[in-house]
């Protein structure tokens, strides 16, 4: 019976209440995050991160993964470090000095032995990888590689140089840095900068049931929307908790639910949720009024006056709370 009592009543305006409940503390958040400004190389928290989540950006500003390990790797620092090393992505830029020479129309790659040893990359590996690239004529000498792009336009040389610098040699792509951290439970896990769920999951030492990334879109791609919804709730809640803002988790859940309800993550705002509202008037009232009115006229759309905004515009009672009930009269 208690559970019945705690249920939300019919006609309760949950959306508005959720929006206000997140929005009101959000205004305080703006003011406080300004004081954190200047801390370099940090994951965005506070309002910037919240905006990032709600806008459903393709990629977070600073993707981060927490990779939990299983078996031996979780227990030993050395073993964990090894796994981390294997996951960390090495690019050519890390082990060599890539310079472009516009006069000779070539790219000079000077290998740095000490860095190569530290990263565990062999010279032949690098040579093989560079040879595998198309559009390059490669000359190999001891310690240096000279690459001549087939197209010698300046733009192409610059493009190829950048491509070479980012050339993936080893590890999981897009994971640029790894740190081994000791968790609260005494076990080791790896924190990375950069995220690649699918790639990391291939490693046998990784506990696939607990790997976590802050890239919600990637979770959606790899694990599906349900997981993405949970990730959204977790991320939003985390942002709010970090600022000591006491927001009921159900508000965050409603937000995440409405973002993921049709199978993919859509943003709140013009290009997402608000832009897909059913009523013409509701959409026109939000943003891009003329566009919606004209499209509605072209298609001969009909507004059934179902939503709140539409009814306010027209001047009727809104279908929430006291406006939801109707009376029927028996005439006999």
């Amino acid at each position: 019976m208690v559970s019945k009592k705690t249920q939300i009543d019919v006609g309760e305006a949950v959306g508005i209440v959720a929006a206000q409940s997140i929005g009101e503390p959000g205004t305080q958040m703006t003011m406080r995050t300004f004081h954190y400004a200047g801390v370099a190389e940090q994951v965005p928290t506070g309002l910037p991160r919240l905006i990032e989540l709600v806008d459903a950006r393709k990629e977070p500003k600073k993707p981060i993964m927490d990779i939990y390990l299983k078996g031996e790797a979780a227990e030993s620092y050395e073993k964990a470090k090894e796994v981390a090393k294997a996951i960390e992505c090495t690019t050519l830029d890390k082990v060599a000095y890539v310079e472009e020479d516009f006069d000779e129309k070539k790219i000079l790659i000077t290998l740095e032995k000490s860095e190569m040893d530290a990263e565990g990359v062999s010279e032949s590996d690098i040579q093989k990888r560079i040879k595998g690239l198309s559009g390059l004529h490669v000359e190999i000498k001891e310690g240096t590689i000279t690459a001549k792009p087939s197209s010698t336009s300046l733009r192409n040389i610059r493009r190829m140089t950048n491509k070479l610098r980012q050339l993936h040699l080893k590890g999981v792509e897009r994971i640029s840095r790894t740190i081994v951290v000791k968790g609260k439970d005494g076990k080791y896990f790896i924190r990375t900068s950069g995220s690649n769920l699918a790639g990391v999951l291939k490693n046998p030492h990784v506990d696939g049931s607990r790997v976590y990334t802050n890239d919600v879109q990637e979770i959606c791609r790899v694990f599906g929307v349900e997981a993405a919804r949970n990730a959204l709730v977790r991320e939003i809640k985390q942002v709010l908790d970090m600022q000591n803002l006491n927001v009921d988790i159900r508000h965050c859940m409603l937000l995440a639910d409405s973002m993921t309800m049709d199978g993919a993550i859509k943003s709140i705002g013009r290009h997402g949720l608000s832009g897909e509202k059913a009523g013409v008037l509701a959409r026109a009232a939000f943003e891009e009024t003329v566009k919606h009115l004209i499209n509605a006229a072209v298609r001969g759309e009909e507004d059934r006056l179902i939503g709140v905004t539409e009814n306010i515009i027209v001047g009727q009672t809104v279908p929430v709370g006291t406006g939801l009930v109707k009376l029927k009269m028996k005439l006999d």
Binding site: Y97, G315, V318, G321
Partner: protein, 622 residues
Amino acid sequence: MKLKRKKIKRKKKIAEGEQAPKTSVYLNGRLIGFHENGEALVAELRARRRMGSISPEVNFHYNKKTNDLFINADSGRSRRPYIVVENGQSRLTPVLLEQLKRGEITWRSLVKLGVIEYLDAEEEEEAYIALKESDITPEHTHLEIDPVSIFGVTVSILPYPEYNSSPRITMACAMAKQSLGTYSVNFNMRNDSRAHILYYPQQPLVQTQPYRLLGFAERAAGQNFIVAITSSYGYNIGDAVVMNKNAIDRGLGRSVFFKSHETEERRYPGGQKDTFEIPPPTTNGYREEKAYRFLGEDGIISPECEVEAKDVLVGKTSPPRFLEEITVFGVIEEKKRESSLVLKSGEGGIVDSVMLTDSLAGTKMVKVRVRSIKIPEIGDKFASRHGQKGVIGLLRPQEDMPFTASGICPDLIINPHAIPSRMTVGHLLEMLGGKAACYSGKFVDGTAFTGDREEDIRKIMKEYGFDEFGEEILYDGISGQAIKSKIFIGVIYYQKLHHLVSNKMHVRSRGPVQLLTHQPTEGRSREGGLRFGEMERDCLIGYGASMLIKERLLDESDKTTMQVCENCGSIGYHDHVKNRDVCPLCENGKLSPVEMSYAFKLLLDEIQSLGIFPRLILRDRA
């Protein structure tokens, strides 16, 4: 790793460059050349400036790190004067000081002699400035003329600012500019559109040196109030203050408010023009006769008339907007428009002066100045010079005010909660200083850093047999009983600020609506309503108060009833002549009345003007 590489590169670059780096010399921001020894060059330049061979308006700045020398002689640099210090010795010697006192030399000659030097922001960067003469060490380059001079004009007027928190000083400055006093001595001859004059201005008992130097004492903007810090039956909660009604009756905080109104006989193309006259009742837009009662034959009001809102100050008629208003008989009837100068709602007072002149365009112009006496009332704003502002919460008769053993009643009671979190210790000090000044009959000096110290004030208090901390036993004016704790009471300078309720008060229950939308007007001057905005609307939705939203947004706003055709969904009308409903499209369409907001009807019209036909599909309400 990346950093390492960059370092090597940077080193290489320097190694490749010339041998000894030379100082780049910039004049007014433009590179003009190089010099072997920048440091020696600035020293030389400065010495020459002090000798008088280079204008004292030029400033030099040598940046050691970047090895740049800047010479600035352009306009727009704010500069301030310092006393030059050389080898730990102030250049302003006692001999010079003596000469200055005797008037043998002037400021200008001190600048010429290189005793006083103006520095700009850049040159100041290199200077090492001592605050006091006794602080000077051999490293110092300059000496502050007086520590107060680090402040601007406004702050230097505030007493004891060094005891206050900086935000409060900022606020005190902002409020000092809003205080009422005597802004101009010839206010009687001026026609400022708005002007306040304080009836009995006083100079503060605690004042500063700059205050006297500015001659502010002769144009004071405030009065010395006797202030007690205690709660007062809840009427001074949250920065409200309780004021002594009798003190106000004796003229405390009383001011006049002048407001000037003007109008002119404008000329229109076609040789027509406005006329000042008592508009004849046939005029278009004729007001009720009562409104014109003060006007003389010339249509202009005379001085000392007691006017109120909606009264006409200057009667004026204008030619009709459209010519050729032909009546049925074919006679052109000149119907003039009423365009009098009228007092707006909430205004009123006594006509102070009437001035008849020519406008710039050479037409007849009248300026009418209306005066009204503003006696402090509940809601008027007052502030001390420490950022402590408050509005009157209650005017209490003197017999109900607390009093001291010697029978003194406070003029003002502020709440003790106003003090701790704001840290305005200067406020308390000024209260004590003011009290001491009253007993000793001497002004207390509150100049920043150099004013009279707390100990000195306490000594005066003791001397006159008072509690040295300024606390006294007060007796409740209502019960007559002694208040259990001692209460801090003193004399402090308070300013009346020009935010007076009588100029701001505004209510509306019914009133004018906008022509276009039929919604209530906005703003006090248009007797408007308070906007029930989007966020307010959201709150009602969140609460589920559907009927209340409809009431606010429709019934109490722009409700209209339109006749809508059930057949085609377009808006029709009722033809009263033929007594039947007319649909613009259908022959015999059945029309039903539909309640809607006028703004929505307007939206439909606008959409139609785009060439889109919106239909309203009607259904009986279930």
